[in-house]
């Protein structure tokens, strides 16, 4: 519970909440602007290009210029569009991107025996260095990413045009498939935490005790990679950007969008990258926790948070510069035949180890049995898929 609300709510506290909201909102917008510029610069460098360099120093104002340009462009509403839904869709994908960021702890000293971990003092009140810490915590992030699917799906559906429709069908299928793997790796994180809490603040506080407590190690690395891949797919970023495959679908679900509505989609997409990086850090890499070196205490958590954030932003850009786009069946194979079975299996292993440590079983034996079970199940699955493929090739099974 946020210590801000410990003594009831009065006007000052409401104003503090509003202040925090505005700050986070402004920060996220500026960070998105920076992210677009960062991506274009880094991808440009990796492709031996320059990237934006005209607007402002190093082209840092390019996003602003693009935004202003898009804002003043004509807003086209297609004749065949379902007008109300067409107008609604961009906000359906933008608002969840904002909402998700509200649960990410950005700073505050988490360890070092502070009585109120992860807080800062605003106008004499101590409050969490995050916008909100709902008890359902990380589920908000999953819920928001599910709502964002509606934005994409309805945008394509309401455009009344075939490319957007195909793009949105792909998008919803992809996001729904990868959400399963995403959710299952989150469950692994929650299982390993001491009290099984869902709140992001508590998850970070649990990891702040030391490097060994970071969930990336505590869950055994695999859920982290599953989450990373599934998150990339969830963000519709390369190599999973089939939704916007320009070569096939013109622009995907946003083909019919122009002007500020298109800008909102664009904004949401990049904002989601930042938000998802924040979620990964929170879940697996201890959020803002890290050693406090010198100077005032509140700087270092911010430094660690943004340092980790920048690493992941770079990673997503690096993915984009390196990996070619998946084919649709490869995408579905990876999702359903690799990530979901693996995350399910790993979840069982984590659960078994957790139960074993509670019951006092021999940990070596538990790990051995789990490993054996995982390998056996994996081989069985492989055999099953081989057989299915073989029979399909023989023509014994009707393929629809």
């Amino acid at each position: 519970m946020d210590p801000l609300f410990a003594n009831g709510v009065d006007l000052t506290i409401v104003l503090i909440v509003v202040f925090k909201t505005v700050v986070v909102f402004a920060f996220l917008l500026i960070a998105t602007m920076f992210m677009v510029w960062f991506e274009r610069k880094i991808v440009g460098d990796m492709q031996n290009r320059i990237g934006p360099n005209r607007a402002g120093p190093f082209g840092i104002l390019q996003t602003l210029a693009d935004g202003i340009k898009l804002f003043f462009k004509e807003d086209l509403l297609p004749d065949r569009a379902d007008k109300r839904i067409f107008r609604l869709a961009p906000y359906l994908s933008l608002v969840p991107a904002f909402l998700t960021f509200s649960i990410i702890p950005i700073g505050g000293v988490f360890h070092g025996g502070s009585e109120t971990p992860g807080t800062i003092s605003i106008f004499g009140h101590r409050t969490f260095f995050q916008l909100a810490d709902p008890p359902v915590g990380i589920l908000v992030a999953l819920a928001c990413s599910s709502i964002a699917v509606y934005g994409v799906m309805l945008a394509g559906w309401s455009s009344g045009s075939k490319y957007p429709l195909l793009g949105s069908v792909r998008a919803s299928a992809q996001m729904v498939s990868y959400e399963a793997a995403l959710g299952l790796s989150v469950v692994a994180v929650i299982l390993t935490s001491e009290t099984g809490v869902l709140g992001t603040h508590a998850i970070v506080a649990g990891q702040a005790r030391g490097l060994g407590y970071w969930n990336i190690l505590a869950t055994g690395v695999v859920p982290f990679f599953i989450f990373l891949i599934a998150a990339t797919a969830e963000l519709n970023r390369p190599p999973f950007d089939l939704v916007e495959a320009e070569q096939e679908l013109v622009g995907g679900f946003n083909t019919e969008y122009s002007s500020i509505r298109f800008a909102l989609f664009f904004l949401a997409e990049f904002m989601n990258v930042i938000t998802m990086s924040g979620i990964i850090i929170t879940l697996f890499l201890g959020g803002p926790s890290g050693p406090l070196l010198f100077g005032p205490d509140f700087i270092w958590p911010l430094f660690w948070f943004f340092g980790k954030l920048l690493c992941f932003l770079f990673l997503f850009v690096w993915f984009r510069a390196t990996l070619p786009r998946f084919r649709y069946d490869q995408l579905m194979d990876l999702g359903w035949k690799m990530l979901i079975p693996l995350s399910l299996g790993w979840l069982l292993v984590v659960a078994a180890i957790r139960v074993g440590s509670d019951e006092g079983w021999n940990p070596v034996l538990v790990v051995g049995v789990c490993g054996l079970g995982l390998v056996t199940a994996g081989s069985l699955l492989r055999v099953a898929m081989r057989t299915a493929r073989y029979r399909r090739e023989l023509g014994e099974v009707e393929v629809h």
């Binding site: 880094i42 460098d45 990796m46 492709q47 031996n48 290009r49 320059i50 690096w318 510069a321 390196t322 990996l323």
Partner: protein, 239 residues
């Protein structure tokens, strides 16, 4: 490295500062020799216009961007050495595809293409170049229009010299299908490229041999490649 090797490839490019990009308006790449830019209407050395208003360029234009009207030359002050002159000549650069067919069609080499292509007009009437705008000045140089970028003019304008015919106009069969440069007022003639002989073609050795063969054929019976006797059509007796 297997699957992950590609990541090293892309990150290895970072910070190398290998750039394929040029800072375009400030820094321009050399233009290709045969670049098709905007047109000019040429003049003879005595200042007369080459255009005779025949409208062949307009006829051949696949984009239908040329509008020409011809008119009889005034007897006392002719504008072109021909019978007629093009008193209206307009090219719409919103339509022109720079295919150069008008240049090929022109019988008097009146219309040629320069290497100027960097123009940005903001209304349609600017996009339609009129006869006055297309016509070269007394030195044979194109006229600079307010919406054109001539920042590398020193390099480009001299290179607008001359133009190329797909088939040399010398009329000699040896040049069939060979391109050749042709001279232009103010620019002269371009040096020949590879495959374009500067010296006159050699006499026709094969033709001479054929003549000799013909002489021999009178004494010997003409045979084809398989040794069969050749008989002219008109010598075959009708049945």
């Amino acid at each position: 490295m297997g699957y992950l090797g590609g990541f090293l490839v892309s990150i290895a490019q970072m910070g190398k500062r290998q750039r394929v990009t040029t800072q375009y308006p400030q820094e321009k790449r050399p233009k290709p020799e045969r670049l098709h830019g905007r047109h000019v209407l040429n003049r003879y050395e005595d200042g007369m216009e080459k255009c005779i208003g025949c409208e062949l360029c307009a006829g051949v234009c696949p984009a239908k961007c040329i509008y020409v009207r011809g008119k009889d030359n005034p007897v006392d002050d002719p504008i072109s050495p021909g019978e007629r002159w093009g008193f209206i000549y307009e090219i719409n650069y919103l339509r022109c595809i720079h295919c150069d067919l008008c240049v090929e069609a022109c019988p008097t080499e009146a219309i040629t293409e320069t290497k100027l292509f960097e123009f940005s007009f903001t209304n349609r009437s600017d996009a339609i170049y009129t006869r006055d705008e297309l016509l070269v000045d007394d030195a044979g140089k194109p006229k600079m229009l307010p919406w054109e970028d001539w920042s590398d003019a020193d390099e480009v304008v001299p290179h607008t010299s001359a133009w190329m015919r797909a088939t040399a106009p010398s009329g000699c069969a040896e040049y069939e299908g060979q391109p050749a440069w042709s001279g232009e007022l103010g620019f002269g003639v371009r040096p020949p490229e590879h495959g374009q002989m500067a010296e006159p073609p050699p006499p026709f050795p094969e033709a001479e041999e054929k003549v000799l063969e013909g002489v021999h054929a009178q004494s010997h019976e003409a045979v084809d490649a398989f040794g069969h006797p050749l008989v002219a059509d008109d010598k075959i007796a009708p049945h």
